[in-house]
Symmetry: C2
C-alpha cells in the first residue's frame, strides 16, 4: 500500500517556480506581483453528486481544476496557484497517475502551480482552492451591472446538461452531438483568456455553473437591476438545436448547469471592443439581452414580445 506521504511525493509534487515555498511544509508561501490583488476561490466536487464515482480519472483531474479556474476567469483574474484537498477510497496508483496527469496538463496550460493540499482516506471528494492575480479595480464582479448594459454570453449553454440527460437515459444523441456534449460535461474549458480580456471592459461577470438564468440572476440581484434575455438570440450548440425533445432542450439552454461559459454585461457603447476582446481570446460571444431598471430578476423575452417561462431557474444542492 502506498503511504499518504508517498502519494503526495509521487503524484502531486512539482518543484515550486513562482511560489516562495510550495508543497511539503505546513503551508505554502506566495506573494502577488506589484499592482495586483489575489482572487481566491474554492470548489468541492463529490463523487455521486458532481461526477460519477467511476468517472475517467484523467478527465476528473482536468474538470476539478477547470471549475475553479472558471471562477477566476469570471473575476478577470490570471490563475497562478492551486491547493488540492482530496479524499480517496483507497490508494490506487493507476487512478492517481491519471488524475494527476489531467490536473497538471490543464495547470501547465495556464501556468498554475500546485502549492499544497491534503490527502486523506474517504469517499472520493475533491476540494480545490485556486488563487489568481488581478488589479483590484479591474476585477469583474457580480454587483456592477447597470441599466443599459448588454448581456453577453460566451460559447453556448446546455450541452453539459444534455449530456447528463443522455447518461440518465432521458434522451438519445447522435454520434457528433453525443461527443460534443460529453466532452463539455467531462472536460469543460475555463474561459480564462476571455475573462482577462474583459478587464476594464465588462462591468460585471459570472460563470455559468448553476444555469444561465440562475447565474444571470445572481448578477441581477447583486447589482439590483433586472436582466432581459432574448430567447431567439441565445446561441444554440448543434446538439441543442437538433434535439427533438424541445422541452428538454429549453431546460438545458436556460437552466442547465456545468457549462462554465461566462455571462457578463458591458456598456452598449463598447460592443465592438467586446467583440474584439473575444476574438483575441479565441472565444465566440453573443449579445443575448440587456440590463434594465426594475425589480432584480431575469425575464426571457420571445421574438413576438411575450415572456417565456422557465420551469426551473437553475441548480440548488438543497432544493
Amino acid at each position: 500500500m502506498i503511504s499518504e506521504f508517498e502519494i503526495i511525493r509521487r503524484y502531486f509534487t512539482r518543484r515550486a517556480r513562482t511560489a516562495l515555498l510550495g508543497v511539503g511544509d505546513d503551508g505554502a508561501l506566495i506573494r502577488p506581483r506589484a499592482g495586483t490583488t489575489l482572487a481566491v476561490s474554492t470548489d468541492m466536487l463529490l463523487a455521486g453528486r458532481h461526477f460519477f464515482p467511476d468517472a475517467d480519472p484523467e478527465k476528473l483531474g482536468h474538470k476539478a481544476l477547470a471549475v475553479n479556474l472558471s471562477d477566476l476567469a469570471a473575476m478577470g483574474a490570471e490563475p497562478r496557484w492551486a491547493l488540492l484537498a482530496i479524499a480517496l477510497p483507497r490508494a490506487n496508483g493507476k487512478w492517481l497517475a491519471a488524475f494527476s496527469k489531467g490536473f497538471f496538463r490543464l495547470a501547465r496550460r495556464f501556468g498554475i502551480e500546485l502549492i499544497g493540499g491534503d490527502t486523506t482516506r474517504g469517499p472520493l471528494a475533491i476540494t480545490i482552492t485556486a488563487i489568481g492575480e488581478v488589479p483590484a479595480k479591474l476585477a469583474l464582479r457580480r454587483d456592477a451591472a447597470r441599466a443599459g448594459d448588454d448581456v453577453w454570453l460566451s460559447g453556448a449553454t446546455g450541452e453539459a446538461a444534455l449530456a447528463l440527460a443522455y447518461l440518465k437515459g432521458r434522451v438519445k444523441l447522435g454520434g457528433r452531438a453525443r461527443e460534443a456534449c460529453l466532452h463539455r460535461l467531462h472536460a469543460p474549458e475555463p474561459r480564462v483568456n476571455l475573462g482577462r480580456a474583459l478587464r476594464g471592459l465588462a462591468r460585471s461577470a459570472i460563470d455559468v455553473s448553476d444555469g444561465l438564468l440562475a447565474d444571470l440572476g445572481h448578477i441581477a440581484k447583486a447589482s439590483r437591476v433586472a436582466a432581459e434575455v432574448r430567447w431567439e438570440d441565445l446561441p444554440r450548440a448543434e446538439a441543442i438545436a437538433s434535439c427533438q425533445n424541445k422541452a428538454l432542450a429549453k431546460e438545458c439552454l436556460l437552466a442547465g448547469g456545468d457549462d462554465y461559459e461566462l455571462v457578463f454585461t458591458a456598456p452598449r457603447s463598447r460592443r465592438s471592443e467586446v467583440e474584439a476582446a473575444a476574438r483575441k481570446a479565441g472565444v465566440s460571444v453573443t449579445a443575448v439581452g440587456e440590463i434594465v431598471a426594475g425589480k432584480p430578476g431575469v425575464r426571457v423575452r420571445a421574438a413576438g414580445g411575450g415572456t417565456i417561462s422557465a420551469r426551473r431557474a437553475g441548480f440548488d444542492h438543497f432544493a
Copy 2:
C-alpha cells in the same frame, strides 16, 4: 427546505472588513500588507474519519478552523482569511447555527474573516483553506533545523489520542482527566501566538497533527538531520501521567495525533529567548531533545542512555 444560497446568507456571511471583496462573488479579493507574504494551507475533515458523524457541531466548527490555524501557527503566520467548503447531508438550521457559532467565535478571536467557500450536499465533509501573513524570511519552515538545535515542544502531547482511546472503550478515565482529554480532542487550541512569537527565533517548526515522532520526523527528513528526544523530559499531561495502561500512555505521548501543539527547533544559545517568547504567548514550552548530525530520523533516548522503541510513529491515512 433552506436553499443553498440561504444557507450561505444566513450562516456564513459576515461583512468583509479587510478583504477587498468577501463572500458572494465568484472569488474573494485580498492583498497582503506591505512587507509580508501569504501563507496558505488547506485541510479536509471527514465525518467518520476525522470526527464522529454526531460530533457537537459547535465544537466541530471550532476544530475545523483550529486545525488550519495550527498550520499557519507552525509557519509563524498571522491568520487573516479563510474559505470554507462544506458538504452537508441535509440543510439542518440548528446544526448550521451551532457550527457557524463555533467557527466564527474562534475566527473572531484571531481576527479572521471568512471570505468565500462552497456549499453542497453530500456526506458531511469540511475543507477549510486558511490564509495568513508572514514576512517571507521569518516564516518557520520544516527544512531549516541544524545540528546543535534544541528540540522544543509546546504544551504536552497525548491527550487527544487518549480521549479517542477512551471513546473507543480502550481505557477508563476519571472525571478531570476525561474532561481535559475530551476538550483537547474536540476543541484544540491552535498555537497561533506562540508561532508568531517564534519568528526569527525558531529555526524550524511543525504542528503535531500526526504524532510527535512522525511530525518531528518530517522536520528531520526535510532538514537532513537526526532528532533525539529525551524520554524523561517529555511533558506529561495529568491524564497521561496517571494512566494505568503504560503502553497506551506511551503510544499516545509519542505517536498520538490531533494535539496541535508545536514542535520546533532553535539554537541552544537562544534558550532564554524561546522561554521568554513562550511566556509572552501564554504557552508552556519544554526542551525535549536535540538535533544531531546523522541519518534523518527520530530516536527516543531513555534516561539510562538506551533507545526506546515506538511501535508506531504516527498516523498515515493509507497505512
